[in-house]
């Protein structure tokens, strides 16, 4: 056995990887029950394809890849409505007048975001989290895949079944809403 070949040891899976996979999921899907289910499903799905393990990646990398696909499935299921699903969120017409100018009451103003030291400001992070949770599932999924895993735009579009044009609409609306929410709540 060369140094480059990895082995699986399902007897140690839970002990070695369960907490890691759970934390990985919680950061992407903020729901404890769902996260537990996904970790369990990941191990069971992995058992079924042990023979497909190619020894090229570590056990943890392999399990994480299976989990990641399951998380994307959840994103996809949650976001059936896509662009129609903007409940409680504002669209371009709410921010911009017909000729393209900001509506006066939606104009960005300086609200001190430039001076925040995020390492210190727990308070700001909790507001940021709340503002993110208000976003529709699909928007949050696109945003998370982009900013957490730095996925290629083409990959995100393919996996979430979003057209490139809609991808940009989602990114744009997400940021407009997120920025407005922060301005409103961080004074």
């Amino acid at each position: 056995m060369g140094i480059d070949s990895y082995q699986l040891d399902p007897h140690q899976w839970v002990k070695q990887h369960a907490d890691y996979l759970y934390a990985y999921t919680i950061k992407r899907i903020n729901n404890h029950e769902l996260a537990k289910d996904l970790v369990q499903e990941t191990f069971l799905a992995a058992l079924e394809r042990v023979d497909k393990f190619e020894q090229k990646s570590s056990e943890r990398t392999w399990l994480t890849a299976i989990l990641k696909n399951k998380i994307i499935d959840v994103y996809r299921k949650k976001s059936s409505g896509l662009l129609k699903e903007s409940s409680g969120n504002e669209t371009e017409q709410d921010f911009f007048q017909e000729e393209g100018h900001w509506w006066p009451d939606h104009r960005p103003v300086s609200f001190g975001i430039e001076d925040i030291d995020p390492l210190v400001s727990k308070e700001f992070n909790s507001i940021l989290q709340k503002c993110m949770q208000k976003l529709p599932a699909m928007w949050l999924a696109v945003f998370t895949m982009k900013h957490m895993d730095d996925e290629e735009t083409a990959t995100i579009c393919a996996e979430l079944k979003v057209s490139p044009a809609n991808f940009w609409v989602i990114i744009h609306r997400t940021k407009l809403n997120l920025r407005a929410c922060l301005q409103k709540n961080w004074i």
Binding site: V14, A18, Y22, H172, L178
Partner: protein, 92 residues
């Protein structure tokens, strides 16, 4: 003149271009040109651009920060899970 007017008034388009720039890191020559013209007259979009960049950084830091220390599975759940795995293994 209409073309120039659309650039000057088009905060909707300018903010979209700003997002493109933040995500892809590159713009076409035309996009760069139009955004620069727009910025000359629009302090609101200049501010939006700064804030949007900062928000991306803050979101990234939030997403990459460690989950709270109590983000662990409880022992009962883990025991049941490993038992279930053992059961599946014994089936084969």
């Amino acid at each position: 003149m209409n073309y120039l007017k659309r650039i000057i008034y088009g905060c909707d388009k300018a903010t979209m271009t700003i997002e493109k720039k933040l995500v892809t890191g590159s713009l076409t020559f035309r996009e760069k040109f139009e955004l620069r013209i727009h910025f000359i007259g629009c302090s609101v979009c200049r501010l939006y651009s700064r804030q949007s960049h900062i928000i991306n950084e803050l979101v990234k830091q939030l997403l990459h920060s460690n989950p709270p220390a109590n983000t662990k599975l409880d022992d009962d759940f883990k025991k049941d899970l490993q038992d279930r795995i053992e059961k599946e293994l014994n089936k084969n």
